[in-house]
Symmetry: C2
Subunit: 780 residues, 2 copies
C-alpha cells in the first residue's frame, strides 16, 4: 500500500512511502524508490530476499553484448544489498511471523531509503529492525547500507551473511567473466568482474562494521563460492541489546574517465578503489551520509528551487519525485553517456536512449540545468559516429540516428524480436530500429532548442552545427520522389505511434524532417555569416555547398500532411483515416498497458484506427507555431479518443496541449495520470523500471504546461495558466545563461532576473523587458 504524504515537518511532501509490506508488489518500490547518482543506479530491493524480487545495480555506460544474437545492454552488476539473516537459526522474512509499524520510505530531500518495522518471529520473539541506505551524490562511487536490530523481548541468536554476489545476470544473460575475489585483512572484500565482450573491468569493494551495543563482534567466517564472496556474522542479543551493521561499498570501472586511457592498469584500479573504501571506512557511515545529503541540498533542491502550493499535496511530491529521478537517472559526469528509457532502475529497454531523452527529458535540463543538457547533447554529438554508420548501412547519406542508442559509437542497438504474436505463436518483429526514423529530426530540433534557450555559441560551433547539418543531409537523401504527385514522400516508416508500422508519410516524421532541413538552411546562413572559418571546415567535410540547394529544393517539395478541409484533422499518415474503427472502451480502461495484444496481433492492430501514443498531438507541441489553435483542438479531439496512451510518453504531451487549449480540468487530470504512471496505484507498471520520459513529462506538464514557459521564434514566452488546485508556483530557469526566478499565482506572474541582466519575454501577447523584477497581472 503506497502512501505519498507521510512526511511531516521538514519533510512534508518529501516522502514516498509504503506502509504495508506486500511480497506481490516488490517491483514497484524497488523501481520508484531506487537510489542513484547518474554514475550508478541501484534498485531498492529489500535486504532479505523474496522470490519475486529483482536486484539490480547498473553503472552508466558499461554496455556489453552477451553474444552476437543479442543487443548490447547495461549489465547487472554484482549485488551488495542482500543480507541473508537468520533469527535463532531460521530465515528472517516478513512473509513469516508478525510485522507491525512497517514503513519503507524514500526521502526525496535526503535521497535516503529507510525501512523499519517490528517483527515477531514465528517463535514469538520480537525484534525491531531499522535499515538505511544511500548512493552518494558526493562520492559517486560510494554506497552505504546500515542495519540496526534490537531485541525487544527475548534473548535471541542472530546471524547473517553479507558480501558481494556476482551470480546476478540480466534475465539469464551473464555479461561477466568470473573475476578474482579477495579478502584483505579479513575485512575488505574485493570482487572483480569483466564484461565478456566490451572488456570493461568492474571492481567492487565492501567492508562491514558489526557491533553489539557499540562493541565490535568477533571475526566473521569467510566464504567464497562461484562468483561470490561473503562473510558470515553472528551475535547473541539479550533484550535491549542493539546490533548495528554498517556496510560501505565502492564501485569503480575501467570505463570511468579517470581510468579509461591507454595506460589503464587493472591493478591500479583495484588499489584506488580499495583505498577509497578504506578512507570512507575511516570516516564512517554518518559522516558519509551527511556529505551526501549536503550535496543534494546544494546541487539539486537549492538549484531548482521549484515550489508548488497545491490543494493536493501529491502535486508537489510528484514534482519533487520527478526532479529526484531526473537527477539520479542522468550521467551528468560523463558526456559519453546518455539516459536510459528506464533510467538506471531496471533491465527494461536495456539502458538504451530513445527520443525520450531529447523530447521529454532534455527540456528540463535545457531550462533548469543547461550544463547537463549540454553533456547530454554532446553524447549525441559523439553518437554521430554511430549515426553515420547507420546511414551508410541503410544506403543513405549523413547521420541517421539509431532508434535505440547505447555507447555512442555502437550505432543502432534496437533488438529485433519482441513479445509473442498470439496469432502465429512466434515472436513479434520489432521494426523501430529499421524504420522509426523521426528520432534524427528530434535530435536536430533539440540542438536548436538548446541553442535558442542557452545562446551557447561555443556548443554550436563545436558540435551543434555539425549535428544539424549532417542530420539534414540524411533527410535529403532519405526522401523519395513521387512521380505521380510530383512531390517528395517518406514511405515505409513508423511514427511515434508504433501501432502503425510501414506507413507512408507519417505526419510527424514528414513535418519534423522538413523542420530539420529548414534548420540546416537557417544555421548554414547564420554560420556562413558569423563564423566563416568553421563553415568552411564543415563544408569541406560535409559538402554543405552541395547539400544546401538540396535542402532548399527538397524541403520545398516535401509533402507535409495538412488539415482536412471538412474537419481540420491532419491525417496521421496516408491510410490512418481510412482504417476501420473499433470500440476502445475496455482498452482505455485497462489495468495494464498493451492489453489489446491479448486479443489482436500487431498486424491486425495496424489495420485499425488505434493509436499507441500522441503522434499528431506531439507534433503540434514541438512545432506549435505551425498550427492554429483551431487545428490543434480539432486534432486533439479526433486523436485522443483513439489513443490508448500505451506509451508513458503520451499523457504529458496531451496535458500540455489540453492546457494550451484552455481545457484546464482535462489538463490537470492528464497531469495527474502522468504522475501516476510511476507514483500511482498500478502494481506492476514499474516492475521493469521507472518511466524516464514520463518523469520528464511531469516537469514539462508543470513548467511548459501550467506555467506556460516556451520558446517561440527564438523568444521566451511565458503564458501561465495554473490549475485551479494550485495557489502558486515558483521555480528557476536559465535564459541565455542567466538564472530567472519565476513566481506564478492564479492572477500574477513575477519574473526576477537574478543577475540583473535584461530578460526579454512575452506574456499573453505583450513583450516585457525585465532587468530586475517585474510583476504582471494576468487578468485571467
Amino acid at each position: 500500500m503506497m502512501n505519498y504524504t507521510l512526511g511531516k515537518g521538514n519533510y512534508t511532501n518529501w516522502i514516498v512511502s509504503e506502509v504495508e509490506f506486500s511480497p506481490d508488489t516488490l517491483g514497484k518500490c524497488e523501481s520508484i524508490m531506487y537510489l542513484g547518482n547518474g554514475y550508478m543506479g541501484m534498485r531498492s530491493t529489500t535486504e532479505e530476499p523474496y522470490l519475486k524480487e529483482t536486484r539490480n545495480l547498473f553503472v552508466s555506460g558499461t554496455f556489453n553484448k552477451f553474444d552476437e544474437e543479442e543487443v548490447t545492454e547495461l549489465p547487472n552488476l554484482a549485488d551488495i544489498t542482500r543480507l541473508d539473516i537468520r533469527v535463532d537459526g531460521e530465515r528472517f522474512s516478513l512473509e513469516f511471523g508478525e510485522t507491525s509499524e512497517y514503513v519503507r520510505q524514500l526521502n526525496l530531500k535526503t535521497a535516503e531509503l529507510t525501512r523499519s518495522f517490528t517483527w515477531t518471529s514465528p517463535k514469538g520473539k520480537a525484534l525491531r529492525f531499522h535499515f538505511r541506505r544511500f548512493v552518494s551524490l558526493e562520492n559517486l562511487h560510494l554506497i552505504g547500507i546500515k542495519m540496526d536490530v534490537e531485541s525487544l523481548t527475548h534473548p535471541v541468536a542472530i546471524s547473517f551473511d553479507s558480501g558481494i554476489n556476482a551470480q546476478m545476470s540480466n534475465s539469464g544473460s551473464q555479461h561477466f567473466h568470473e573475476g578474482e575475489r579477495r579478502i584483505f585483512d579479513k575485512r575488505f572484500v574485493q570482487l572483480i568482474q569483466t564484461t565478456i565482450q566490451s572488456k570493461i573491468d568492474i571492481v567492487m569493494n565492501t567492508a562491514h562494521k558489526v557491533a553489539v551495543n557499540g562493541v565490535e563482534v568477533n571475526e566473521p567466517v569467510m566464504n567464497m563460492d562461484r562468483r561470490k564472496v561473503w562473510l558470515s556474522f553472528d551475535a547473541n542479543l539479550d533484550p535491549g541489546d542493539q546490533l548495528t551493521m554498517d556496510k560501505l561499498t565502492t564501485v569503480y570501472t575501467s570505463r570511468d574517465k579517470d581510468f579509461d586511457h591507454p595506460e589503464y592498469d587493472l591493478s591500479k584500479l583495484r588499489e584506488h578503489s580499495l583505498e577509497d573504501l578504506r578512507t570512507s571506512y575511516e570516516q564512517g557511515y554518518e559522516a558519509l551520509f551527511q556529505a551526501h545529503q549536503e550535496a543534494w541540498s546544494q546541487k539539486v533542491w537549492n538549484a531548482y528551487n521549484l515550489e508548488v502550493n497545491s490543494k493536493d499535496n501529491f502535486d508537489m511530491l510528484a514534482l519533487r519525485f520527478a526532479m529526484y529521478h531526473l537527477t539520479i537517472m542522468t550521467p551528468a559526469h560523463d558526456e559519453r553517456m546518455g539516459i536510459g528509457a528506464k533510467a538506471l532502475s531496471g533491465e527494461g529497454y536495456k539502458g538504451h536512449s530513445f527520443w525520450d531523452s531529447e523530447v521529454f527529458i532534455l527540456p528540463f535540463f535545457m531550462y533548469a540545468n543547461p550544463k547537463v543538457a549540454k553533456s547530454l547533447l554532446k553524447y549525441r554529438y559523439l553518437g554521430l559516429v554511430g549515426a553515420r554508420k547507420k546511414a551508410a548501412e541503410n544506403g543513405y547519406e549523413g547521420a541517421m540516428y539509431p532508434w535505440e542508442a547505447a555507447w555512442p559509437t555502437d550505432g543502432e542497438v534496437t533488438p529485433v524480436w519482441g513479445a509473442v504474436d498470439i496469432v502465429t505463436g512466434k515472436q513479434t518483429k520489432i521494426w523501430s530500429g529499421f524504420i522509426e526514423q523521426h528520432i534524427t529530426a528530434d535530435i536536430a530540433n533539440a540542438v536548436h532548442q538548446y541553442y535558442t534557450i542557452t545562446g551557447d555559441h561555443e556548443f554550436m560551433d563545436q558540435y551543434g552545427y555539425e549535428m544539424i547539418f549532417d542530420t539534414a543531409i540524411f533527410w535529403a537523401s532519405r526522401l523519395e520522389w513521387n512521380e505521380e504527385k510530383q512531390e517528395y514522400h517518406i514511405n515505409q516508416v513508423v511514427g511515434p505511434d508504433e501501432y502503425k508500422e510501414h506507413v507512408d508519410n507519417n505526419a510527424f516524421t514528414n513535418h519534423m524532417a522538413h523542420h530539420n532541413m529548414q534548420l540546416a538552411i537557417h544555421y548554414a546562413d547564420v554560420l556562413k555569416e558569423e563564423n566563416p572559418g568553421r563553415f568552411a571546415e564543415l563544408n569541406e567535410r560535409l559538402h554543405l555547398d552541395t547539400a544546401y540547394p538540396k535542402w532548399q529544393s527538397k524541403s520545398e517539395k516535401l509533402y507535409l500532411p495538412q488539415p482536412r478541409e471538412e474537419d481540420l484533422v491532419i491525417p496521421q499518415d496516408d491510410t490512418y483515416l481510412q482504417l476501420k474503427e473499433i470500440d476502445l472502451t475496455k482498452y482505455k480502461n485497462q489495468e495494464k498497458v498493451g492489453s489489446l495484444f491479448n486479443e489482436y496481433n500487431l498486424e491486425q492492430v495496424n489495420q485499425m484506427q488505434i493509436t499507441k501514443q500522441a503522434d499528431v498531438v506531439i507534433l503540434q507541441l514541438l512545432l506549435e507555431q505551425a498550427f492554429s489553435a483551431e487545428v490543434k483542438k480539432a486534432n486533439f479531439d479526433y486523436y485522443e479518443p483513439r489513443t490508448l496512451h500505451d506509451s508513458s510518453l503520451s499523457l504529458s504531451s496531451h496535458a500540455i496541449l489540453a492546457n494550451d487549449l484552455k481545457e484546464e480540468e482535462l489538463a490537470y487530470s492528464l497531469f495527474k495520470r502522468a504522475c501516476e504512471i510511476d507514483l500511482g496505484p498500478s502494481k506492476h507498471s514499474s516492475d521493469h523500471g521507472v518511466h524516464a520520459a514520463s518523469i520528464g513529462g511531469i516537469w514539462m506538464s508543470a513548467v511548459l504546461g501550467f506555467a506556460g514557459v516556451r520558446v517561440l521564434d527564438g523568444k521566451l514566452r511565458i503564458n501561465p495558466n495554473l490549475p485551479k488546485h494550485w495557489d502558486d508556483m515558483k521555480f528557476t530557469i536559465y535564459w541565455k545563461g542567466q538564472p530567472v526566478n519565476l513566481t506564478i499565482t492564479q492572477t500574477s506572474l513575477t519574473v526576477k532576473a537574478e543577475n540583473k541582466e535584461t530578460i526579454v519575454f512575452e506574456t499573453y501577447g505583450n513583450t516585457y523587458e525585465c532587468q530586475d523584477q517585474i510583476e504582471i497581472n494576468l487578468n485571467k
Copy 2:
C-alpha cells in the same frame, strides 16, 4: 524429516520419502530423489518455487565452456518443472497456510516421484494436491509431470503459469545463446538453446492437457519473455471439482547420436523432437508412465536381482537406492560419455568424471552389467586423445589421463581455484589437475579387472591393450631417477589423500604405477602370443619394442614404500609419518565435511598427520594380494584414526577392508555410514548433488565386502562374511560373460550357473567347479 521405509506391500523397502515439508532442506530431496535415465537427469525440485531451491536439468555429454577462464561443464538446461500456482490470486506455497498429510516420495521400483498433501490457504480454503513425475527409461527423451488439485471446502479460483524457462544458469554462468521460442497450435511450446562455445543445440518441447473434471479448460494465455515462453491457465473449482494437468516434455540435442553427424540440420531436430512430443501426447501420461515402469522392471530390477534380508530394512532400501542411482547416473546409451562425480543431480564437480568411475562405480557394472562397463571403458578409450594431449603438454610420453574428464577429447578440465584460504583471503589453488596422477593407473587397472571378469577379448583387442600400454608408457616417462638411492621415485604428487599436496613417493601412486607397468609387460607378452597382428600394429604406433624393456627396468627399480619393521605401517609418502599430530576428535565428529578448513588452511593441514580419505587403505584393496592380513590390519589401525573421511569415497573402502579383517561390527557400521552419506540425516551434504562414488561403494560394500566377491590372480573368489544383521543375500553377477546366481546365508553359499557353463571359483581356500548349482557350507 526423512523416512526411509514407508513403502508398504509391494513397495516395502522401495520408498525414499520425506514426511514433513521443510524449506531449509530442499537441496537434500532435490538431489537424492532426482530422476533420470542416463541420457538426462532432473533434480526433484518442487513445482512451486522456494528461495533456496535449485532447479537443474542436465543432459549427459552436452559440455560447454562459458569462457576461456572457466572449465567446461554440463550446462543447466531450461526448466520445465516450475509451476507458478495462484489460489484466489495469491501465490501458493507451503510456507504459508497449513499443510497436512504431506508426503514426498521417490518410488525406487517405478522410478516415480510423487508428492501429496492437503493445503489450507491463509484464507481457510482447503485443497488436496497430488503431483507425479517421471523421466522415462523407455523413451530417454521424455519427461512427464502431472498435477491433480481438488478443492475440498470452498469455491476457489486457481491459476498457474507453466512453460519452458531458459533463464537458468550454472551459478550465474550462462551457457546458452537465447534461441528461438515458438508456440505451435497454441499448445505445443518449443524452445531452442545453443551452447555458446561447443555449439550444441538443445530443443525442448512441452505440451499441457489441463482439465476440470475431465473437461479441458479454455485456451491459455500465451506469453514470451527473454529466454522464456509460458502459458497461463486458470479455472474455477467448486468443492469436489478436480483440476488435472498433464505436462509432457521432450528433450533432444544435436549431440544425440542420431543427430551428431555431418548432415545435421537443426530444423530436422526440431521437427523430430516435436513429432515425438505429438506422438507421446496422443498416448497420454498414463500409458507413457506404464511403459517407463515396465522398462525399470525389465532392465533394472529383474536384471540385478539383488535381495538382502536384514534385520534392518534400511539395508535393502540403501542397496536399491544405490542400484537406482547407478542406473540413472550412467549414460549407458552413449560410449562418448562418462559418469559425473555428482551424477546428473547437481552442479557439483561440473559433470566431470574422476577416478570415482573406475574405482567405485565400474565394479558394479563389471560384475552386474558388463555391457555398460564396456561402454564406460570405451569412454576412457576415446579419452586417450585427451590423455595424450595432457601427457604431451606436461612433457611426458604416452597417455596421462586427466584428473577430471568431460568430453573425451577435452583432456584435463580440473578447475584451478577452489574455496577461500582463511589465511591469505585468496582462493585456494587446486593442484589435482596438475599432480594427482594416480588416475592413469586406476584406469589401466580397471581395464585389467574388466577383462579378467568378462574375458572380453574383443574389447582388449580393440581398446584395452592400447590403453594399458600407453598408460604404462606414460609412467615410464614420468619416473624420476634418484641418484643417491639408485632408484626411481615419483615426486611432487597428490595421492588419493588430497590433504597432502606435493608429496614424494605417495605409496598409492608408486604401487599403482608399478602395477600399471607390470600389466603392460604381462599383456604385451599375451598379445604377442595370441594376436601378433594386433601387437605389430600397436607396436608400430606406440613403439612397444622400445617401451617394453623400459617397463621392465624401470618398474624393477621403482621405489615401492614397504611396511616399517617396527609396526608394519607403510609410509603414505616420504614425510607423512614425520609430521606432527593433532587431536582430531572434533573434526571426526563434524556435522559438515571439511570443517578443518575453518581453522587451518591447506598449507597448514599439509604439515599434519591428517588424511582426507583412504590412501594406503584403498591401495590394500586394489592390490590386495600384495599385502598380508597382518600388514593390512596394522595400516588400517594406523591410518583410520587419522582419516577424516572428508571424501565420500572413503567409508566404503574401509568397510570392505574391515570386513576382510574380520572386524564385522566395524565393517557393518562403516557400511551404514557410507549409506548415510546421501540417505542419512545430514541436511546439506547432498545439496550440490548425490555422491556417485559413495553410491557405488554401497553396492561394493555388500558384494565385494560382505559377499566377498573378488578377483584374485585372474580367478573368481567368493568369501562371504555377512553381517550378523543379515539373514541372507542373493544377487546375480556375470563371470566370463555368464550369469551366475549367488545365494548367501550366514552359513552357506549357493552358486548357480544359470547357463550351465562351468564356473570355477574359490571359497575360503577351496576351489569349486560349478556347472549347475553348488551349495557350500561356510562353517563360520
